[in-house]
Amino acid sequence: MKQFSKSINRASSLLLAAGITAAAGIATAAPVTVVSWGGSYGKAQDAALFTDAAKNSGIEIVRESGASMSKTCLQVESGSVNWDLVVTGSGGSASAAAKGCLEKIDYDVVDVSNFIPGTYTDYCVGSDVFATVMSWNTDKYGKPGSAGAPKTWADFWDVKKFPGTRAYRANNVDGVLEPALMADGVPMDKVYEVLSTEAGMKRAIDKIRELKPHISVFWTSGAMQAQLMKDAEVDMTTGWNGRFDNAAKDGAKVGYSFDQALLDYDCFAMPKGAPEKDTAMKFLAEVSKAKYQANLPFHITYGPTNKGAYDITTAPKELIEALPSHPKNVPLMLPVSLDWYAKNRVKALEMYMELISE
């Protein structure tokens, strides 16, 4: 009996020792979980950024899809954080940071000295510059820039000059009100000034109400924007410029213009209490380097946030000029005001949901 318990003891201590070494092994080489979005966006990031950065830095990563700041906050608040780096829009990261869901970025590790000003915050490092544009079926309304093709938000609203169906954003107010005001004649640089009052927001909502009978679909994702144009389900939609370029590569008859578009950026955020915080910060530093961002335009027409990327990229001139961040395009667009969203998002969303449910 004694012999028996002794051997049990020995076996369990062996097991324990094995467990400890296994745990230590995990602690030193646990992979970093990087979460992005589906469709052509995540694929572009894999091809341009993640695969090479992981290889060069020796940091192992696990790629997941379905990035969302609300899921990030849920993980943080329930104390079971599984993600290390999460892709988000600039506005989403600002809201999540305000809720205390994000880890501060360590700028001693991540070098942003050569970044485009305003494409990083205390809680988020810009990954690419994109634009919310209007796109249309080129078979129906002509190629961008050709005579008679739509150009401004007023054209998007003009169903007499451009008869057909429209799509607009569903259940989310990001980039929803600004186009309506511009269509209503507010100059680009006055948009956020007008939107700062409730009367201004109501004016935008009323303008969307005017178009609503012609909005046949409300889109919920970038993948859906692309699909709607590929299937010619609608004639004109709002959406993110890179998605339409990739849809066009797949044969969709779709074009867009940067006139009056909304200039914005996506970024990487780190959930508070990320399990591999230090390694993830190193990976973030690696992935933000110019040499990876320089490859991004080949896979999706979103502009690098690291200015160094523009110097070393081997992308042809036409491709560089097609990026939303190109100096030729930037002046055409309205930069999204994070400040306005921080103050007004909740109210604006209630008003927009009110309109959609009418």
């Binding site: 809201s95 107010v173 010619a232 449910s357």
Partner: protein, 274 residues
């Protein structure tokens, strides 16, 4: 002894049903600052969108249930009248959709019904209609998709109750001079009602909380409670407001169950009877 066997089940019910629901109630009264508040419920009164969303939810659920009854009752009747070996084959056809992912079936309907979808292209090729019909991204598409997905939930309990009906009762009715339709309505139909009510309630209640199908086939125009909850969570990270919506949906569902149990007299089965 028997009670002892059910203790694990009781514990599971407490752990995975009662505690989370209690927590849901609690969260719905907590504001963003962590203090007690009624603001989430006040908002539901203040903004019309919440009332409309609840109306749409009940409307979609009711219509889906009606469509399922209209298709499902004759189908179950047909299945019940078949000899067992043939019935097995047709049962497979009813059950087959159960083995395919809900998401796949929903997107399949999108591909079939959209403007340049298979159905519109085919109908226009053979000249049934000239301009594409709007079959999806609206209420029509939502109802088609939901009815397809919910049908087995109605057919299975209904078939069960139909199979229990003694065929001799119909023969007896015929012997005393009832026409086939008279025999059906006075003998068969009343006996099948329990299965019909059970199936309809399952369909109705499942529809109330449905998310994927209305979100994909409704094109953003059919806003259900689940859609609203997602919008609030995705944009505001506001668990309180989302919980309050969940609470109202839960209570209204219980209310529907209670009222229909009174009408159809199965309250002893659901709520116990003294």
């Amino acid at each position: 002894m028997l009670l002892g066997f059910s203790i694990p089940a009781i514990l599971v019910v407490i752990a995975i049903i009662l505690i989370p629901i209690g927590w849901l109630f609690y969260l719905s009264f907590i504001g963003n600052d962590g203090q007690f508040t009624m603001e989430h419920y006040q908002k539901m009164v203040e903004y019309k969108s919440y009332k409309r969303v609840f109306f749409t939810t009940f409307q979609v659920s009711l219509f889906t249930t009606i469509i399922c009854i209209l298709i499902g009752y004759p189908l179950a009747y047909f299945l019940a009248s078949l000899p067992p070996r043939v019935a097995g084959f047709f049962m497979l056809a009813v059950l087959l959709p159960f083995w395919t992912s809900l998401l796949v079936r929903t997107y399949a309907w999108l591909v079939l019904l959209q403007k340049k979808g298979i159905l519109n292209e085919f109908a226009m090729n053979i000249g049934l209609w000239d301009t594409p019909l709007k079959l999806v991204h609206n209420m029509t598409g939502t109802l088609i998709g939901m009815a397809h997905i919910m049908l087995p939930f109605l057919v299975l309990p209904l078939l069960g109750s139909m199979k229990k009906i003694d065929k001799d009762l119909m023969h007896a009715a015929a012997n005393v001079g009832a026409s086939p339709s008279k025999a059906f309505w006075t003998v068969f139909f009343p006996l099948s009602i329990s299965g019909l009510v059970a199936g309809s309630l399952i369909v109705f209640v499942l529809c109330l909380g449905f998310y994927v199908t209305p979100a994909v086939l409704g094109g953003g125009r059919v806003v259900m409670v689940s859609t609203q909850i997602t919008a609030i969570l995705e944009n505001q990270f506001n668990w309180g407001a989302a919980s309050a919506l969940g609470v109202v949906l839960l209570i209204s569902t219980l209310l529907v169950l209670y009222i229909s149990s009174k009408i159809f007299k199965f309250d002893n089965a659901l709520f116990g009877k003294k």
